[in-house]
C-alpha cells in the first residue's frame, strides 16, 4: 500500500510539472462552464439544479480523460523508464494502482474546481445539495472508469496518440451502449437478455441513475467493478509487454 502511495505522489507531480495539468484543468473548466450555459440552457431552464451541468460530463470525459490516461504507460514504455520502475521492489499491481490513483485524484481536483457553478446555483435558488453531491460523486466514478480503460489501453502501446484514439473509441462504445440507437440495433436480432445487458454496461445509463436520485448502489458497484477489472487487465498487459 505504501508503494501505491509513493508512485501516486510521483505521478501527480509529473502531471503538474508539465503543462498538461494546467491545460487540462483550464480546458475542462472552460468547456464544462460554456456547455452548461450555452448548450444546456442552465439559466433559461429556471431550475435550481445542476442537471444542465452534469449532462455533458460523459461527453467531456470522452475526449479529455483519454488525454489524461494516454501517457500513463505508453510514455514509460517509450522512454524506457518502465525498466527502472519495474526493477525497483514494486509489484506490477502496485504500480498500476498508484498510476491510476494519481490520474483519478487529478480528475477529482479538476472536478472540485468546478465549485463556482455549485455556488452559483445556491445563490440563484435553493437546490438539493445532497443530490448535487451524489452527482459529483457519480461523475468522479465515471471519470475513474474512463481512466481505468484509458490506462489499460495505454499499456498496450508505446505511442501516446494511438493510446488516445483507441481509448476514446473504447470509451465511446461504453457510452453509447445505452442509447436507443444502439439498443434498437441489437433488439432486431439479439435476445432480450443480451439487449438489457448491453444497456446495463452503458456509462450513460449508470451515470444518469446516479445524477437523478439518491446514490444507486448498483451503479456504484458497476463503476467500481469496471475500474477493478480494467486494472487487473492493465496489470496483466504490463506484465506481458515487458519484454517488448
Amino acid at each position: 500500500m505504501r508503494n501505491v502511495w509513493v508512485i501516486c505522489k510521483r505521478e501527480l507531480s509529473a502531471y503538474f510539472s508539465s503543462p498538461l495539468a494546467y491545460v487540462f484543468i483550464v480546458i475542462f473548466l472552460a468547456l464544462a462552464g460554456s456547455v452548461t450555459f450555452y448548450v444546456g440552457g442552465f439559466l433559461e431552464g429556471g431550475r435550481a439544479d445542476l442537471q444542465a451541468f452534469f449532462n455533458f460530463h460523459p461527453w467531456l470525459y470522452l475526449f479529455l480523460i483519454p488525454a489524461l490516461g494516454m501517457r500513463l504507460w505508453a510514455e514509460e514504455r517509450k522512454s524506457g523508464t518502465i525498466e527502472f520502475l519495474m526493477t525497483l521492489p514494486v509489484r506490477t499491481s502496485e504500480a498500476v494502482g498508484g498510476k491510476f490513483l494519481a490520474a483519478w485524484l487529478f480528475a477529482g481536483i479538476a472536478l472540485v474546481l468546478t465549485f463556482p457553478i455549485w455556488i452559483t446555483v445556491n445563490y440563484l435558488g435553493d437546490p438539493d445539495n445532497g443530490l448535487i453531491l451524489a452527482a459529483y460523486f457519480g461523475s468522479w466514478l465515471m471519470a475513474g472508469s474512463f481512466l481505468a480503460i484509458s490506462a489499460c489501453v495505454s499499456a498496450t502501446t508505446k505511442n501516446q496518440v494511438i493510446a488516445f484514439v483507441l481509448s476514446a473509441a473504447v470509451c465511446f462504445m461504453f457510452l453509447m451502449s445505452g442509447l436507443e440507437m444502439v439498443q434498437s440495433f441489437f433488439r432486431s436480432w439479439a435476445p432480450e437478455l443480451f439487449v438489457r445487458a448491453v444497456a446495463q454496461i452503458s456509462f450513460l445509463t449508470n451515470f444518469f441513475d446516479l445524477t437523478e436520485g439518491v446514490i444507486d448502489t448498483r451503479a456504484v458497484v458497476y463503476f467500481l467493478s469496471l475500474i477493478g477489472v480494467s486494472l487487473v487487465i492493465n496489470t496483466a498487459i504490463v506484465e506481458m509487454k515487458k519484454g517488448q
Binding site: 509513493v6 510521483r10 507531480s13 510539472s17 527502472f84 526493477t87 525497483l88 514494486v90
Partner: protein, 319 residues
C-alpha cells in the same frame, strides 16, 4: 567468499528468437565480473532477468539466495540495477529521483537523507541536485542513474554499461568507485570497453549468441591471444631484413610482422607458437646474427584479439 549471484542454465526466447541459452555462472562477494560480448549477444537480456524485469523461459538464478522468478521483490530489495541507457524520469531532479527510489525501497527520514548524501558525494552530483534530469548532460544523467543504483548500499550491483557516455575523467572516477565498493559486494558490469576490464574486473565472461564462450581472469584470457608472449623489437632499418630471415627460420616463431618503420628504424613483432616464452631464444638468435637491437619487449596478449576470436567463431558456426 560467499556466492551472491548464482545462475543455472538461464535461457530466454522472445517468441522463436533465442536471446540467451543455458547461461551458467556464479559471482562471489568481492568479485567484479566483466560481462563482455558483441551487441545482441544476450548481455542485457541476462541482466534484465537477474533484475527481475524479464522472466526466464527456462533455467533459474538466485541473488543473495532468493529466486529471481519466485522471490522477485526480495531480489530487487538487495539489488542495485542500472538499466541499459540509464533511463530516468526527465521531469524529476536527481534528488527527486533518489527520493522516489528510496521511497519504494522503504527508506525514509534521516536514514534516507544520509544515504542520498553519500551517494551524491560518491558521484559528485552536488551541483545538479536541483536541476531537472532532462536538462542534464549525458555524463550527469548516467551518474544520476548510477547514484540511484547504489543508493541503498546493495550487496549485488548489476550495471549495464555504467561508463557509456562518460568522459575519461568520469570513467576513471566511476572505475575507482567500483573498486572501492567491490570488497563487500558482488558486481556485474557489462561493457564494450575492453580496457575497462583490465582496469576494474577480477573476472571476465564473454558471451556470444546467448552462450558463455569464456569465463576466466583477464590475465588468463590474454594468454589465449595470438599476441601472447610475442616479442617486439626495434632495430635500424638496415638490420631488419637480416632479423626477419633469422626469425622466420626459428621453430617457436609462427609469424614475423614488420609493424612500423620510421627515422631509419624498423619495428618487428615475432609471434610465439602456442604462446611459449621465446624472449631469450629470440634475443640470442638475433644478436648472434649481428642485429643491433635498440629495444625489445614482450607483449602480454590482447583482450580484443581474444574477444574477436571467440565471438566471431560462434558467429561463423551459426552461419
Amino acid at each position: 567468499m560467499d556466492t551472491l549471484v548464482d545462475i543455472r542454465g538461464l535461457t530466454k526466447y522472445f517468441g522463436p528468437v533465442k536471446a540467451v541459452e543455458g547461461v551458467t555462472f556464479s559471482v562471489k562477494r568481492g568479485e567484479v565480473l566483466g560481462f563482455l560480448g558483441p551487441n545482441g549477444a544476450g548481455k542485457s537480456t541476462t541482466m534484465k532477468m537477474l533484475a527481475g524485469y524479464l522472466t526466464p523461459t527456462s533455467g533459474s538464478a538466485t541473488v543473495c539466495g532468493y529466486d529471481i522468478t519466485r522471490q522477485t521483490i526480495d531480489v530487487q530489495r538487495r539489488l542495485g540495477y542500472l538499466p541499459e541507457g540509464a533511463p530516468a524520469y526527465g521531469d524529476l531532479t536527481p534528488l527527486g529521483l533518489m527520493r522516489f527510489a528510496a521511497g519504494l525501497r522503504g527508506i525514509t527520514g534521516a536514514k534516507r537523507d544520509k544515504l542520498i548524501q553519500t551517494s551524491v558525494e560518491r558521484l559528485e552530483l552536488q551541483s545538479v541536485l536541483q536541476r531537472p534530469i532532462e536538462t542534464l548532460s549525458k555524463g550527469f544523467k548516467r551518474r544520476v542513474s548510477l547514484a540511484q543504483s547504489i543508493l541503498h548500499d546493495p550487496e549485488v550491483l548489476i550495471l549495464d554499461e555504467p561508463t557509456d557516455g562518460l568522459d575519461p575523467n568520469q570513467k576513471f572516477q566511476v572505475r575507482n568507485l567500483l573498486q572501492q565498493m567491490a570488497k563487500n559486494k558482488a558486481i556485474i558490469i557489462s561493457t564494450h570497453i575492453l580496457e575497462e576490464v583490465d582496469a576494474v574486473c577480477s573476472r571476465v565472461i564473454i558471451i556470444g549468441d546467448g552462450k558463455v564462450m569464456a569465463d576466466a581472469q583477464p590475465g588468463q584470457l590474454e594468454t589465449r591471444s595470438a599476441y601472447h608472449n610475442a616479442v617486439v623489437m626495434r632495430m635500424p632499418t638496415a638490420d631488419a631484413e637480416k632479423a626477419e630471415k633469422v626469425l622466420s627460420g626459428m621453430a617457436y616463431v609462427v609469424k614475423v610482422e614488420r609493424i612500423g618503420q620510421w627515422n631509419g628504424t624498423a619495428q618487428l613483432r615475432a609471434l610465439s607458437a602456442g604462446g611459449a616464452d621465446i624472449l631469450s631464444t629470440v634475443h640470442q638468435a638475433v644478436s648472434k646474427a649481428g642485429v643491433t637491437l635498440q629495444q625489445i619487449h614482450v607483449e602480454h596478449g590482447r583482450l580484443d584479439d581474444v574477444f574477436r576470436k571467440l565471438t566471431s567463431k560462434s558467429r561463423n558456426k551459426e552461419a
